[in-house]
């Protein structure tokens, strides 16, 4: 074991060249994960609501889109976003934005699927009760079904966010200098201590993912008490 190599390169692994250059390493991983996590949560809830409230062809179209996004590898979507978004919009889009967009879309699709299932699991009786109280469909959704569904869906949100943290490592393939990219650069430069480098990086991701799970477990206990 050679811890010296990790210690020498710790600043690069943790925050890249910042403040003298662009943000990188673990800090960039956190940034990517937070932005994509927020985006996927918004898209997921909106998508789940739309799948529940819409009818006819808009619903079928959205269901097909969600199915498509769930069927392709995250890597493929990152390629699509990375190479096609700039062509479609005719402007230079930073790599980080394309990766965040791809991760938010995939995460959103999985969460929308889960949110629709959660809203269905609330039960027909709750909807009928809301409607018979004179609430409109949207009021019933907002005041009765959604609060219950969101509480039920918390575990699946956390699972999806853990998957998302792990998937930020794919940004490496398009050259975004997050933690995995920095680690491979370091590995290519030194080539002698690959086990140490990737064990350290694995440990960083492990700490990120498990602290999110612990926080969520703590939070859901408090929700149940309230």
């Amino acid at each position: 074991m050679n811890a010296q190599l990790i210690l020498d390169n710790l600043p690069t692994l943790l925050w890249g060249a910042y403040p003298n250059g662009p943000l990188g390493g673990l800090a960039l991983t956190l940034l990517l994960a937070s932005l994509a996590g927020l985006g996927s949560a918004l898209l997921g809830v909106a998508g789940g609501v739309a799948l529940t409230m819409w009818q006819g062809w808009p619903k079928r179209l959205l269901a097909a889109l969600v199915g498509f996004l769930r069927a392709i590898p995250v890597l493929m979507l990152i390629f699509w976003a990375y190479f096609l978004l700039p062509i479609l919009f005719g402007v230079d889009i930073p790599e980080i934005a394309t990766v965040v967009a791809a991760l938010a879309l995939i995460g959103g699709a999985y969460l929308a699927h889960g949110a629709a299932a959660g809203l269905a699991a609330v039960g027909r009786g709750q909807w009928q009760a809301g409607l018979s109280l004179g609430l409109s469909r949207w009021q019933t959704l907002r005041l009765i079904a959604l609060p219950q569904a969101l509480r039920m869906m918390l575990p699946s949100f956390v699972n999806q966010w853990v998957a998302l943290i792990k998937d930020t490592s794919l940004a490496y393939i398009v050259g975004v200098s997050e933690l995995t990219y920095v680690a491979t650069q370091l590995n290519n430069r030194t080539l002698v201590y690959p086990t140490e480098v990737f064990l350290f990086v694995g440990l960083m991701y492990f700490l990120l993912c498990s602290s999110l799970q612990l926080a969520a477990a703590h939070w859901s206990r408090r929700l149940r008490v309230a």
Binding site: F79, F83, F206
Partner: protein, 249 residues
């Protein structure tokens, strides 16, 4: 009259490449699914073992492998193999050779990249598959266990003939979901140089600059594979693998 610009299709040569990429993806996925299912069964058995050391070890394994990115795991096995394994073993793995089967058939030795990918993907997928199997086992009513015991079956016999057949039927849909994930996850092996579908599409994109066509064809292939797995699942559920208690007495 409206005239559309001519679509610039990929040359046959590139479609041929793509086909080889699909085969590599399918072959790798199949081997990973097999290995991960066997190892997943073992992990599930360890998790539910009465010996605390074993169940804790299995839990630790799952926690580590599920909470770190697959890409980092693949890079670890690929680059780390040379320092983890003795030099002779690495050399042996890297030497090209062919496995001679009966009747003059030979199987070319897979590349080191392929072996590392297969190994890493199997270890990763097993930690998820074990959980689906455990959920299936928990889904079998306790009365079944008691009935098996009352018939005089030993613990292992009950597991083999009574519990597991029902548990696998319950776990079939989530298991197939995991197999779909395996197919999608094989795309990450392009990072360590396995020439599968994603690697091929990227290579064709670089060579022809036909971005839309290259990624389009690869995306369609992935969707076709996922749809095929779904169809197999539906087929199985209508036959011998029907959900417990449906159409079988």
């Amino acid at each position: 009259m409206l005239s559309l610009p001519p679509i610039d299709w990929l040359a046959p040569k590139y479609l041929n490449w793509m086909l080889w990429g699909v085969l590599e993806t399918l072959f790798l996925s199949l081997l990973v699914a097999l290995a991960a299912t066997v190892f997943g069964l073992l992990l599930a058995a360890l998790r539910d073992s009465r010996r605390r050391v074993l169940s804790l070890a299995a839990l630790a394994y799952q926690t580590v492998f599920r909470n770190t990115p697959l890409l980092v795991q693949l890079l670890f096995w690929y680059f780390g193999a040379s320092s983890l394994l003795p030099a002779q073993a690495v050399e042996w793995l890297n030497t090209p050779r062919a496995l001679t089967l009966a009747a003059g058939w030979t199987l070319p030795w897979p590349s080191f990249e392929f072996i590392a990918g297969l190994f890493g993907l199997s270890l990763y997928s097993a930690s998820f598959i074990a959980e689906e199997i455990r959920a299936g086992i928990r889904g079998v009513p306790f009365g079944q266990r008691q009935a098996a015991a009352a018939l005089g079956l030993s613990g292992w016999q009950a597991m083999r003939w009574v519990i597991l057949p029902q548990a696998l039927r319950i776990a079939l849909p989530p298991l197939f979901g995991q197999y779909m994930n395996v197919v999608k996850n094989t795309s990450l092996t392009m990072a360590i140089g396995v020439v599968e579908l994603s690697y091929t599409s990227r290579q064709i994109e670089t060579e022809t600059l036909k971005t839309f066509q290259a990624f389009g064809v690869a995306t369609l292939f992935y969707i076709a594979i996922i749809v095929a797995i779904e169809l197999v699942l539906q087929q199985l559920r209508q036959g011998r693998w029907a959900p417990v208690g449906v159409g079988r007495r």
